[in-house]
Symmetry: C2
Amino acid sequence: MLNRYPAPIHGARNPGQTPDVTTPGSFANAPDIGGPMMFSSPDTPGMPAASAKTAWDFLPDGWQVSRLDASMPSDSMPSASSHSVAEFTTARGQRLRVAYPAGFTPITQLESARLGIVTPEMKRVAEREPHFGVLCDGRGAEAVRDEVAAGRLVIPANINHLKYKLDPMAIGRASLTKVNANMGASPVSSGTDEEVEKLKWAERWGADTVMDLSTGGNLDECRDAILRNSTVPIGTVPIYSMIIGKKIEDLDWSIIEKSLHQQAQQGVDYFTIHAGVRRGHLKHVKNRLIGIVSRGGSLLAKWMLVHNKENIMYERWDDICDILRQYDVTFSIGDGLRPGGLADATDAAQIAELETLGELTERAWRRGVQVMIEGPGHVPFDQIEWNAKIQRTLCHGAPFYVLGPLVTDMFPGYDHITSCIGATAMAYHGAAMLCYVTPKEHLGLPKKDDVKQGCIAYKIAAHAADIALGIPGTRDRDDELTKARAALNWEKHFELSFDPDTARAYHDEDLDVDTDFCAMCGHDWCSVRISKEIQEFMSGKADGYERVGAGGKLGAPVKSAALTPEQEEILAKRGVLSPDEIHKLASKTKKAVGADAGKANCHSDYVDPDAAKGLQKEKVGVLVQVDLRPALGIAKEDRVV
Amino acid sequence: MLNRYPAPIHGARNPGQTPDVTTPGSFANAPDIGGPMMFSSPDTPGMPAASAKTAWDFLPDGWQVSRLDASMPSDSMPSASSHSVAEFTTARGQRLRVAYPAGFTPITQLESARLGIVTPEMKRVAEREPHFGVLCDGRGAEAVRDEVAAGRLVIPANINHLKYKLDPMAIGRASLTKVNANMGASPVSSGTDEEVEKLKWAERWGADTVMDLSTGGNLDECRDAILRNSTVPIGTVPIYSMIIGKKIEDLDWSIIEKSLHQQAQQGVDYFTIHAGVRRGHLKHVKNRLIGIVSRGGSLLAKWMLVHNKENIMYERWDDICDILRQYDVTFSIGDGLRPGGLADATDAAQIAELETLGELTERAWRRGVQVMIEGPGHVPFDQIEWNAKIQRTLCHGAPFYVLGPLVTDMFPGYDHITSCIGATAMAYHGAAMLCYVTPKEHLGLPKKDDVKQGCIAYKIAAHAADIALGIPGTRDRDDELTKARAALNWEKHFELSFDPDTARAYHDEDLDVDTDFCAMCGHDWCSVRISKEIQEFMSGKADGYERVGAGGKLGAPVKSAALTPEQEEILAKRGVLSPDEIHKLASKTKKAVGADAGKANCHSDYVDPDAAKGLQKEKVGVLVQVDLRPALGIAKEDRVV
């Protein structure tokens, strides 16, 4: 059908090739794990091309890599006695020989990958993200290793954090898009237990990594507790603890060195270091509407102005690399000059810094350290693709970790929304991890519910991008939910939802019966019910998706279960129902609603279909006047199969 | 700076051309009002090209248009006595001669536009959207007329609605992106007053049009009241009232004719008619996961199956056009086969119907009726651009009015977010109006706060797209807010916000003092404060943006005003502060906080800077240990200018 019209054929399968269904990522580029495009969007004309270089082009001194022809015997290659040699085959079947200084012991994931070693962490990543294996002929762990070696994938796993509960994960465009949640915004009143609780809350709502940005309280004790309790990687911005109790101008190398060692020793998995803000960039900031909005960036700018010196983090970059390498701490190179408003986006300051971030990436790779790059911030929607792709060019595919970006500035209170729009586009065009923004952004400290709202908005962004990029398997749960929705199987619908309690509570607010319609359109106007009843359609007829009512009867209305305390709280906050009404929904018992002894499902308190409609009429008030079933010769109580 | 890197130069100005600032729409195509691209995104390779045809190619029988050379005397053109002739110059300076049947009187905006007439409604549109004048040498109203004549812009303004309070507006890609809010979802308990109140609420939160989808109550009385009270165009789906109290299979032409006349007579501005669902399309539906999810579409599918006949709306299309023309009701041709899940997006059913919508567009234009086209629904992010652009091809630029689309299916309860992501991309790639989706979508009837949340999510989408498309002036308020934010002028910041009460309430939840930081980072970590204090930066120093404190003193902290009832309610719903604490914030009086007699601003209850920090410490608990001002030789209380 569609092949009558011009359609982009970048993807593995185009909708035009199969007339009745579309496929995930149809319009994205075909997957290319192991190549420069990985999962990627097609370039709008004029976009900068992906860098032709990878971390293989930035090996440490004394290292060398050769691509061997499969027919060439390996002993024909030269090897000096001062060097050891590793040979291995990539997931794509390319044979590599790596010469490196004799006696060298790999510490970081990058170093292991360069030697062809598949670490337990790489194996775990391939297990958690089975698409690596699916797309690479079962060589998933090797494919992960190859991406790590290329510098396009990082596994932030401090060797000391691995001793606790860290479950290794990866960040890079060949893997699923990840979400970071920030916490620990410095209450002195907040104790260690409270911070651990926040961590668990962020993990519950899907945060893939957590940054501890504490600037108050017992920082060390708190960080230690977070590291001991987290299953996700933990990031920090070490400059915060470097200047607690000091003046920024007193910052010197001894303080930096001590702090980095201490936090790395504790087990922090990645450090944000704002080494890219150089003295020479500050002139580009002068006409900005809102200067520097990165905390670390503004502090270091102040340091440079006070001392009239180059950024100390930049000057001591190689020394910093050597500290991080010892613990396999990953760099998250900070974008101190990220724009703080649409007007400052993609400006000279931002791009000058990004060039420096590229240089710092190359230097870190030369010292064996894993790298990701932080990005904006506030970017108009039309500039997002270019922002993602110039990073890919300048930083040679190092994972891009962006904050939003917000696509408009004038909706404070809703910046989880303004920014998750930009985040979706940024992830589709190349970002690998999204730092969440909460509704309290620009206004105050996020509270528990803000953290949840921020996490969910960003899980939406990450998931939508993964579907768009065509990562195998990512759309399965959406399709299952669609089948449950088509079958009007509410319980299954909600189980498949990201936030089942909210979905259930919103549904039951209007109608606490699971039946063949909901209160939005009512019985007569439910297009899903009508589609399901059309015999010729598959709609709502998928095996295992039917709603089982009383006594195993398919499709019969059932009274929904009593609200859980979580669902009660959700409804109470909405303020639509009275406390009495909510209490009634929450205190339902089987006895109260007249349970049917033979029912197959604990949610299946049978309700007569007419009673369901009556209830709907009473509670929602939709007129019930049209019933299509007689027109089709279908008995009132029967489903059509 | 940027011109060192390849950058797309589609737009009027590229960021690379001005080193220190970016411009709105830099990466979009250059504006082309009067041409086929209008405001548009650059095409990803493989996208279908814009149609070379416009409504000028589909004139009624007996009409003819000629493009005159300026040097050609107009009397040299042939003209039959049975025809009249209109000659006029377009906003772009092209001279047109239109021959039409003698005695013809234009009724619709399209017919007037074809005769070169600038109607009062076109003038009003140009006044409300000054960019038409800005980009067309002051000939804004003429440019509006030309876009209407081309069929790319509609002004839904029923001649009878114009007798009430309708403020004419336009929908089309040359104008700002519009947002529609649905209401009247059929409560019999809901009286006319209540529906009018809902209308006002939707207007308050920025709805540009409202659809009354009532299926219960006194439909006629309610619709009449809505029309008499609305300043925005009102749309309906007339099939709903056609079958109230009847069976769908009883639908016939006499019922259709009567309903259309009656609603048009009342003043409805646009009708959704699902004439594009044809009998031959239903075979493409059979393997869908979720069949037909449009109410009108599913009802008409049922009608066709019961009667084994072609869609009656399709068969009687010309007759329907003739009714709409009499009142200048605009078509919103319904997409009865829009996908109800990602799996069904861009499938054969959807595209087959879209072809028919193109045919119906041509036929409506031939009968002088304005047209817009409804679109999906649920579409993976990668398929959005193609969906927008195939509509532009098949429907010759007729405005595209889309519902979302959702970019993932598994977040019920959050579908205002999942869909506003898709809506932003759809508007950037070509949609002209976005139908909102509320958090209750798929679950139940939206309540008052759901309507607000849906409106705001969609105002974000529309505004973000307008900025990205580079519509002149659209980013001004964002930039003003950024300046206020940079100046830490909280009152101005909130005044410029889309929802000032929410922004203020969230801010005051933590800290009810307006000072040089907020509770998010606290004093010492506020990058905005640090940037503002760097003398070399412009940041926070824009004229008229400084925060005036007590006695006219710049930058002095001030106690914020007492919470309004709206702000109280917002905080109460969040449940972070206790009712007592909220009451305290709401019951502040000048007396209670020790007002300063000489203050310039009613919000300026002076607070000593140390007291502000103390308050912050007490309430938020951020440690206050670093003060950069001494390092810069700046007095503690002074601002740096």
